[in-house]
């Protein structure tokens, strides 16, 4: 097979803004030789039914991700700080809306 030795097109993670006012949301990934082609391919792969108004393409290789094993140290400490939620505080009805 010809071409089998050549480098594979790099992987890009694709983020789409669904409509004006919303943030970009991860929708999936695709292969493309460069950023320009990644956006063009993303248009064809992820917005065939007008799912977006803006596309971000990010090289998958530059994304840093937390590890599942860090779940405890990263997120556990937040669980005992219930006072960060407004419902922690009882405000008498007489005070009115707050």
């Amino acid at each position: 097979m010809t071409g089998s030795a050549s480098a594979e097109w790099p992987l890009w993670e694709i983020f789409i803004r669904g409509q004006a006012g919303l943030s970009h949301r991860h929708v999936g990934s695709l292969h493309a030789p460069d950023a320009e082609a990644a956006i063009r391919n993303a248009r064809d792969v992820y917005t065939r039914r007008a799912e977006g108004v803006s596309i971000w393409a990010v090289p998958a290789a530059v994304i840093a991700a937390s590890s599942p094993s860090e779940k405890g140290p990263l997120y556990e400490p937040a669980k005992d700080k219930v006072y960060r939620h407004p419902t922690f505080f009882d405000i008498p009805d007489d005070v009115g809306p707050m």
Partner: protein
Amino acid sequence: MYAQLVKSEASSETQADRDFQARIDRGDTIEPKDWMPEGYRRTLIRQIGQHAHSEIVGQLPEGNWITRAPTLERKAILLAKVQDEAGHGLYLYCAAETLGVSRDDLTRQLLDGRMKYSSIFSYPTLTWADMGAVGWLVDGAAIMNQVPLQRTSYGPYARAMVRICKEESFHQRQGFDVMMKMANGTSAQRRMAQDALDRFWFPALMMFGPSDAESVHSAQSMRWRIKMNTNDELRQKFVDQTVPQAEYLGLTVPDPDLAWNEETGHYDFTEPDWDEFFAVLKGDGPCSADRIDAKRKAWDDGAWVREGLMAHAAKKAAAALAAE
């Protein structure tokens, strides 16, 4: 289905395996960076890979009719449908890649016969009515399998399925629409519609795979929640749903033993010829050689594009760096 006879690998029963199974039983979603048994990972690569290959090879029988569609509108619709199939293949390759395999490697395994694609796409599409039968029956059967897979345990696979299911409904309905037009047309068109149903009925039933009542692989895959229903359950559901639709079209399902069973509340029907199924899956279908030849040609003929665009990207990146 689009993934047929996927060999499932049991894992050794270590504590990690038991913890993993407990997560699945709790309904947790497994994500790419989570620990998973090697057997789960390898089984999923085979299953998602075969599913992806089926979407890609599945473009060929329909692509066959794009230039010969009867109207410009039908042509545009078929083109959009075939483009969707390419998209579905890409969503699935991406899901498989999160398991540590590359898309190019999966493609090579398809081309050299180490990986399979669904038996259904080794059958020819001889007339325009086949475009109706494929959408109605083949996409209809695929939906049966894919809707439950939206809840499969592996996150990237489940998310790909959600996107695919949203789009698949258009495929089935456009197929039924083609069948309605033909079934209500001239007597020649009606004959063509009936002929398409005659040829696609049993191959569509084969899509679900042979009875898996005694299959060890199925049992393991169901424990892992990467297979949600037995092949027989889905096949029965498909028959129960499709027979009234055929009646609506005024077409006859080519099975003399097909009968409503009052007691079970389901249709009794004839099983497809499983020897034929195994032969087709092995690569002895009427169009098997053509399909792989077409994919190999596309891969080889596209090599200069893949390489050229990479070289161009490297040159542009170097120039951008030099300009800084």
